[in-house]
Symmetry: C2
Subunit: 419 residues, 2 copies
């Protein structure tokens, strides 16, 4: 008879923690028997929806309880969760976390620590909450050389962009997102792409064995996107999405987060509202898309429960980290050297020679122009250019020089085009 009963502790009993505890209590015993042994909370006197006898405010009680096999960390924030996870793994306990900040910060180190201590670490909920995507990437697709991974992995910004596509202003989209609880009172992490950056760092580790620093993941958010950009996108049969884009082609690895203009027929264009999606590309698999709910207590708890089953499987087989993480195959590529095609909107004075001076500036920087549209006349003239692919540094130089041209009133928007 296999051992099919495990004692579990949960660190944290907030929104996510409570959902996880409820799922654990109702888990089908046909699959595995879970004994909820302990829950770490800050206030042990507070009334709980679960059996109050198991609460403790002392982490050491859990760390030193040899009967506990598996600990689920859902505290949020980096500290003290990170220290707790290290101590638990060092004590040989299996750990599951939903905490993207910790895994982005030191996922590689923690995976190795788990391995050294013959135990395991799972974190499916850290990227794209309810979508089972990390496990397929780690296991089913471990034999594939991946070329590119693109994700819509921040539900808040995608909700806002979807609202703007439907006609909202940025401000209205943000305030609705806040009313619905999708955006925090301080929305910085979501709208500036920081949350997506952490998740991109985790995908970099899982898909390419790469551990870029925060500073090496170029990160732009959606704060400069306007309704007018969406009007233009629509004219070009495109929409605008904030993506994490990680590739390992053209001589190097690079991870970045920024908005893109994307064709309306691309699968990511169909990811609307607070949904998430991850597109995985490689020679044999061509293009796989995983999509679903990227946030919320129920989907997050669902991912944690999936991890509980994986961890119990691993505990029962006494195997640590059977699927080795990928090793990074290519050197890091500097963001300056990443190629993109660009959409650029300029306010210009409508006088002879304007286009010539702009085109000349691009040309001096070896950027070639794919199409130009001029709208309006006189002081209100607008010039919309789409370039062919060019390295980031050449584009940035072009844009800087164009901004200083006398005939250019302002550079209204600059967006990379996804292809």
């Amino acid at each position: 008879m296999k051992n099919n009963s495990y004692s579990v502790a949960v660190l944290g009993a907030g929104n996510i923690g409570s959902a996880v505890i409820e799922r654990l209590e109702n888990l089908d015993n046909e699959i595995v028997e879970i004994d909820l042994k302990s829950v770490l909370v800050s206030d042990i006197s507070k009334e709980r929806t679960f059996n109050n006898d198991v609460v403790t405010d002392n982490f050491e009680d859990i760390l030193n309880d040899d009967s506990i096999d598996l600990v689920i960390e859902v505290l949020g924030g980096v500290e003290p969760g990170k220290d707790y996870i290290k101590s638990l793994l060092s004590n040989g306990k299996a750990v599951i976390t939903a905490n993207k900040d910790i895994i982005a910060d030191c996922g590689n180190e923690l995976v190795q620590l788990a391995q050294e201590n013959n135990t395991c670490l799972y974190f499916e909920a850290a990227v794209a909450a309810g979508i089972p995507v990390l496990k397929p990437l780690i296991e089913s697709l471990r034999g594939e050389d991946l070329s590119r991974v693109t994700g819509i992995i921040n539900g808040t910004s995608n909700y806002m962009l979807t609202s703007m596509e439907e006609g909202s202003t940025y401000e209205d989209a943000l305030s609705t997102a806040q009313e619905l609880g999708y955006a925090e009172p301080d929305p910085t992490n979501d709208v500036e792409g920081i949350d997506a950056m952490y998740k991109a760092m985790i995908l970099s580790l899982i898909c390419f064995g790469a551990t870029p620093d925060k500073d090496n993941v170029h990160t732009e958010g959606i704060t400069s996107i306007t309704k007018e950009d969406f009007d233009w996108a629509s004219r070009l049969n495109k929409t605008i999405k904030l993506v994490a884009l990680i590739d390992n082609e053209d001589g190097g690895f690079n991870a970045r987060v920024h908005p893109v203009l994307i064709d309306t027929k691309h699968p990511l264009a169909a990811i609307r509202g607070a949904l998430n999606a991850v597109v995985v590309e490689g020679e044999n698999i061509n293009q796989l898309v995983f999509s679903g709910p990227g946030a919320g207590a129920a989907p997050t708890a669902s991912a944690v429960i999936g991890d509980v089953l994986s961890a119990c499987h691993q505990l029962s087989s006494n195997q640590s980290n059977w699927y080795p993480l990928r090793s990074q195959k290519n050197d890091n590529k500097n963001f300056d050297d990443v190629f993109s095609s660009w959409f650029i909107r300029l306010s210009v004075t409508d006088e002879p020679g304007v286009l010539a001076s702009i085109a000349g500036t691009f040309s001096q920087n070896n950027v070639s122009i794919e199409s130009v549209i001029q709208e309006g006349r006189g002081e209100q003239a607008e010039l919309v250019l789409v370039t062919h692919e060019a390295p980031e540094k050449d584009m940035q130089n072009s844009i800087k020089q164009i901004t200083s041209l006398d005939s250019v009133t302002s550079v209204t928007s600059t967006l990379r085009v996804y292809s």
Copy 2:
């Protein structure tokens, strides 16, 4: 030190078999060491792209070779593959198959046989080829109660429907699909929904623990779909897809395959050409979508390689079938009792009382009408109705009775509406 080296045999060296063998020979040794020990072929004298020394035309050589850990069956057809798999599992060898016919026929029995013999059986490639979807359903989502699974799981018919959406006739779509190698010279299995039915039977087992007979999976293909149906679909902001639809709500389990009118904003509407997709729904996960290439040697081999890794994992941990298959929770629901909303197009004589008699017929069968559009006048008049949801038997009675009305020249099309 864990045992990380396995001896493998492959049954069949056709299109898929050759792709699998090439992948096995180039598999990263960091993950697992594979020794290709034997390949079963019908003609051992034929020149091969792989080491000719390993070919045999005698299955017994493989069955009785105790050094072989794992056998990959890619012969196609039910026999002799089914007998081979049974013998191999009975001899304690791990088996991987890409063969949907065999798994649809007796997957449950084979999984149990694997379990009894403390070995394993994997078949990721049998549904939606290159998309890792069965393993997430079996493992990550094992703790979820699923309510409905909907798949575009036949690439040929989806390719044809996409061509028709773009303006092709059925005949042109079929002949192009045949030229491109998507459709067989005899396309029956694809266009009549039979291939999708087999895959629906496998999804029924994996998602709901149900083992419906072929006769209990209502199956309709795409042969009666016309260009005009697509014109109408477009007017209603919908398109037409052939889906496998498996649900476990409203008092019972039912699996079926038929074309549906589906909203253009639904994720399945975006699955174009030969792609496949599986949509999984449940209370906690809401709606997950897995999409990617549903056919072809490279994606199929990719799924087989994923299974090889899973099987080696299982062999190294000496665990048989840790994730138990789901047990069927609800009774089977008869297709007659399945509710759908319908789109019905009729040729009618334009005379007073036509609509009254048609509406009266629906009403006698307790079917209520959501909308009616009349097009044209006189002999060419066309009536297009969309009904509210009603049980299959009531709709079929209504349609039969309407067909026999004097004022109805013909029932031009009947399509269920997906919601």
